[in-house]
C-alpha cells in the first residue's frame, strides 16, 4: 500500500502510458514466437558450450613467429586500404552530404535523388561490392579500396547530411544576412558547426572499415583477410592467434587516437 502511494511515473495518471506497455509486451511475445526461426535454442546453446571452450582452448598455442614478417606486410596493406578507401570516401561524401541535407540541398528533388543513391551504395556489404569490383578490375587491393570507398560514401554521406541538418540556424542566418552566397553560407556557417560530428563519423567509419578491410581478402580483394580465412580453414591456430591479436591491437590504437582527436576538435586547442 505504501509503495503504491510513494512511487509514481512522471505522467498525469502516475502510471506508464498504455501504448508503451502494450508495445513492449507485443514485441516480447513476437520475439518469443519467432526465435525458433533463426534457431535460437537455449538447450542447443548450452549443449555446445563444450565445443566452444574446446575451440577457444585450441587458440592458445605457441604463436608461429616465422609468420610475423608476412603478417606485418599484410596488416600494413590492410591499414593502407582502410585509410585510402576512407580518404576517397571523405572527399566524395562532403558534397554528397550537402546535397542530401534538407537545409542545405539546392532543391528537394536533388535531396531525394542523393538520398536514394546513398542508400543504394550502402545497401550491400563491402564483401559483395568487392566481388563486383574484383570481376571488373581483377584481383588485388584495388578492388578492395574501391569497395570500401563505395560503401563508405553511402554511410558517410548520410551521416554528414544528418550532422548538417542539426546545425544552429542562427549562425547560418548571421552569415546569410551579410550577403554571403549559396556555397559560402554552407562553407562558413554549416560546415564548421558540423565538424565535430564529421570527425566522430570519420573515426567510427575508420574503425568499421579496418574490420571490413580485414575480411575483404576472402574474395581476393587484398589485405589480411585471405590469411585469416586460410589459417582458419587449415586449423593453423598459431597464425590465427597472431592475426586476431594484430587486428585487435590496431583497432584499439585507432580508438585511442580518435578519442584524443575528438576532444581536441570539440573543445578547441588549449582547453
Amino acid at each position: 500500500m505504501t509503495t503504491v502511494s510513494t512511487w509514481r511515473w512522471p505522467t498525469p495518471s502516475g502510471w506508464l502510458p498504455l501504448p508503451l506497455v502494450g508495445g513492449v509486451l507485443v514485441l516480447i511475445c513476437a520475439l518469443w514466437l519467432t526465435a525458433p526461426m533463426v534457431e535460437v535454442d537455449f538447450v542447443r546453446l548450452i549443449g555446445s558450450l563444450g565445443k566452444m571452450t574446446a575451440f577457444a582452448g585450441q587458440m592458445f598455442v605457441a604463436p608461429d613467429w616465422n609468420y610475423v614478417p608476412q603478417l606485418l606486410a599484410k596488416m600494413l596493406e590492410t591499414i593502407e586500404m582502410t585509410i585510402l578507401g576512407t580518404a576517397i570516401a571523405i572527399v566524395l561524401s562532403l558534397p554528397m552530404g550537402i546535397l542530401a541535407a534538407r537545409n542545405a540541398t539546392p532543391h528537394i528533388v536533388v535531396y531525394r535523388v542523393t538520398r536514394d543513391a546513398l542508400s543504394l551504395m550502402r545497401a550491400l556489404p563491402e564483401l559483395v561490392w568487392a566481388l563486383v569490383f574484383v570481376s571488373a578490375v581483377g584481383l588485388g587491393p584495388l578492388p578492395g579500396v574501391m569497395a570500401l570507398a563505395f560503401v563508405t560514401v553511402g554511410f558517410m554521406g548520410k551521416f554528414f547530411a544528418e550532422s548538417i541538418e542539426v546545425v544552429d540556424q542562427k549562425a547560418v542566418e548571421g552569415v546569410r544576412a551579410h550577403g554571403a552566397g549559396w556555397l559560402q553560407v554552407r562553407l562558413f556557417a554549416m560546415l564548421p558547426q558540423a565538424l565535430p560530428d564529421f570527425v566522430g563519423t570519420v573515426m567510427y567509419i575508420l574503425d568499421h572499415n579496418l574490420r571490413a578491410a580485414a575480411i575483404l581478402g576472402l574474395v581476393g580483394a587484398g589485405g589480411i583477410g585471405y590469411d585469416l580465412v586460410m589459417s582458419m580453414r587449415l586449423f593453423q591456430y598459431d597464425r590465427l592467434l597472431l592475426i586476431a591479436l594484430a587486428i585487435y591491437l590496431v583497432v584499439t590504437l585507432l580508438d585511442r587516437a580518435s578519442d584524443r582527436l575528438r576532444s581536441r576538435i570539440i573543445h578547441g586547442r588549449q582547453a
Binding site: D168, K170, A171, E173, G174, V175, R176, A177, H178, G179, A180, G181, W182, L183, Q184, L187, F188, A189, P192, Q193, L195, P196, G268
Partner: protein, 259 residues
C-alpha cells in the same frame, strides 16, 4: 549612408498571422532610429524585411533607390548589415574568421572553397576589431568570449562589410546593463562618425530616449508613434505598450512608472 523607405508593407505569415498591417516609414540617411514596442508587435519582422530575410506580402522596402527583392538579395545585403540579439556568430570559428564572413559578399565562391580571403580584407577586419576593442581576442574562438564581447564581434562583422546601414535586432536584450551601455554607445558612435544609418529594436525605453534621434513605436503590427525622444510622453508609452482587451493594466502602470 542610405535612406530606408518602407511603403505600405503588409506581412502575413503562412500560418495566417499578420505581423505587419500596413507600415509607412521613411528613415533618413545617417540617422539613428529606435523601434520600440511589446514582444510580438512586429519589430523584428520589420527589420528582417529591410535585409530581405523576409519578403513583404504587400508593399515594398527600398534601400536608397533599390527595392529589396529576392533577385538581388546579395547586392542589397552587401550594403545592409545586421546585428542580432543572439549574436548569430559561428561559434567554432575564430573571431577573425567570423568578422571576415562580413567580407564574403565581396568575394566569389572560388576562394571561399579554400577559406581564402584577400590581404585587404584582413586589413579591414583588423580595423573593425580595433574599433570594437577586441584586437587582443582576434584569434580566440567566438564561443569562448563573454556575451558583450560576442556582440562586439557581431558589430565588427557588420563594420567589416562597410555597409550603408546597420540593422540591430534587440542587440542588448541578452546583455547586462554595462555591456548594453557599451554596445549602444558603439552603435551611436558608428552612426555619428561614419554616417551609417542605424535602426535598432529595443525593449529598454530609457536607452531609446538617450540614444535615438527618432523613435518609432509599434503595437500589434502598426506604427502608433513616430517622433523625437522628447515627444514620447507617458501617455504615448501607454499607447505603445497597451495590451488588447485589458482596460486597467496594473503591470503596464508599474512598468512605465519609472520609464
Amino acid at each position: 549612408m542610405s535612406s530606408i523607405s518602407v511603403r505600405g508593407v503588409v506581412k502575413r505569415f503562412p500560418n495566417g498571422f499578420e505581423a505587419l498591417k500596413g507600415i509607412e516609414a521613411e528613415i533618413q540617411p545617417g540617422s539613428f532610429t529606435v523601434v520600440l514596442g511589446p514582444s510580438g508587435a512586429g519589430k523584428s519582422t520589420l527589420l528582417r524585411l529591410m535585409n530581405g530575410l523576409e519578403s513583404p506580402t504587400r508593399g515594398e522596402v527600398r534601400i536608397g533607390d533599390e527595392i529589396v527583392d529576392t533577385h538581388k538579395l546579395r547586392q542589397i545585403r552587401s550594403k545592409v548589415a545586421m546585428v542580432f540579439q543572439q549574436f548569430n556568430l559561428v561559434d567554432r570559428l575564430s573571431v577573425v574568421t567570423n568578422v571576415l564572413t562580413g567580407r564574403l559578399a565581396q568575394r566569389s565562391w572560388v576562394g571561399s572553397v579554400f577559406y581564402l580571403f584577400r590581404k585587404e580584407d584582413m586589413g579591414i577586419v583588423q580595423e573593425a576589431l580595433a574599433r570594437v576593442g577586441l584586437t587582443d581576442k582576434a584569434w580566440n574562438r567566438a564561443d569562448k568570449l563573454s556575451g558583450g564581447q560576442q556582440q562586439r564581434v557581431g558589430i565588427a562583422r557588420a563594420l567589416a562589410q562597410q555597409p550603408k546601414a546597420i540593422l540591430a535586432d534587440e542587440p542588448v536584450a541578452s546583455l547586462d546593463p554595462v555591456s548594453s551601455e557599451e554596445i549602444m554607445a558603439l552603435l551611436r558612435e558608428i552612426c555619428d562618425r561614419d554616417g551609417i544609418t542605424v535602426v535598432v529594436n529595443l525593449h529598454q525605453v530609457e536607452l531609446a530616449r538617450r540614444f535615438a534621434d527618432r523613435i518609432i513605436g509599434m503595437n500589434s503590427g502598426k506604427i502608433v508613434f513616430d517622433g523625437r525622444p522628447e515627444q514620447m510622453t507617458q501617455s504615448v508609452l501607454r499607447t505603445i505598450y497597451q495590451r488588447e482587451g485589458i482596460e486597467d493594466d496594473n503591470s503596464l502602470d508599474m512598468a512605465l512608472a519609472y520609464a
